[in-house]
Symmetry: C2
Subunit: 194 residues, 2 copies
């Protein structure tokens, strides 16, 4: 049965399964066998392709981060002007996709991982820098010299609002999350409302 060129297919399946299992259990306390089973293969094969559990976690983290990045980039393509771009970033950050159980589980556990696994911390830092850079680009025309400070606050606010909305219980409300952030933003710009 063995067809060639399976490696990328298997790896992708394992990454997806890893994220689903983290979401299911809510923690990194998932076994390689669980993941492999969900991905439709033996645990031995998972080890064969990834070498170990931590490598699987990191690959999953990269995947979640890159999905988020793609969502933001896609949203930015559809709009024009600083205010519109800011709104697009917010909507993408608080989209239903990002509040799915497994994505929330992934993020929270990546924070935990970032405490002790340098590569995880690095990936998180990359994400934060990119977000900051996107925000700065929008904010400079709007608040000029205060852009740096506003971007720092806005980035942290996005994380904090996401955290609270994700852990609030009940159905997360991306719209409410966007609104909370806008309350902040409105006051940061002199007189221009979005």
């Amino acid at each position: 049965m063995p067809k060639l060129g399976m490696e990328p297919i298997r790896k992708a399946a394992l990454v997806k399964a890893t994220i689903v299992e983290i979401g299911r259990s809510g923690s990194l306390d998932v076994t390689v066998s669980q993941i492999a089973k969900r991905a439709g293969m033996s645990s031995a094969l998972a080890h064969h392709y990834f070498g170990g559990k931590e490598a699987m976690f990191l690959a999953a983290m990269r995947h979640v981060l890159s999905l988020y990045g793609a969502e933001v980039r896609g949203a930015l393509l559809a709009v024009d002007g600083p205010e519109q771009r800011l709104m697009a970033i917010l909507r993408a950050s608080f989209s239903p996709a990002n509040f799915r159980r497994e994505v929330v589980g992934a993020w929270l556990n990546f924070y935990v991982l970032a405490q002790t696994v340098p590569e995880a911390r690095r990936l998180l830092a990359v994400y934060q820098r990119r977000l900051r850079s996107n925000l700065l680009f929008c904010l400079r025309p709007l608040v000029d010299d205060r852009a740096g400070a506003v971007a720092d606050g806005l980035g942290a606010l996005i994380d904090g609002v996401y955290l609270r909305e994700a852990l609030k219980g009940g159905t997360p409300d991306g719209g409410a999350a966007v609104a909370t952030v806008l309350t902040y933003l409105d006051r940061q710009m002199k007189g221009a409302g979005a």
Copy 2:
């Protein structure tokens, strides 16, 4: 050797040891034996007093939360007036104590726990409600009808700034965290600077 009245002493020691071990490992992946050993007793005794690992985690969470609450209450006693009280809350939230490795570890892992353990979620909600109530009390004189929205944003911002500062790498800088939040606050009040 057995002296009577050991229960509270043992429990307190176990709670402390639990927090230290979570900080050491950065995760909830700590064994009862590790905790018990650090607390100077056998693992059987830990089970005897707490019944299981999850109960120990929840007790640890209650402890961290109550320490934070006490710190805020203490800081509030020393000041007067809404602005001063706000500053006190911020300083307490970003105090060096809260950036100690084991406290950061506890918070991050409590977030993870809150996904799946209802009691953990409840405790987190209690903390957030209390913070909100404290903020509201300060904000009403300052921003009146907008107090609700500002308190929501401010609460999330505090969480987000804490998260970033804690995971940033290097020595966390509580002062910078306070400053970031103040950038937000200043603009939320009409014209009154702290």
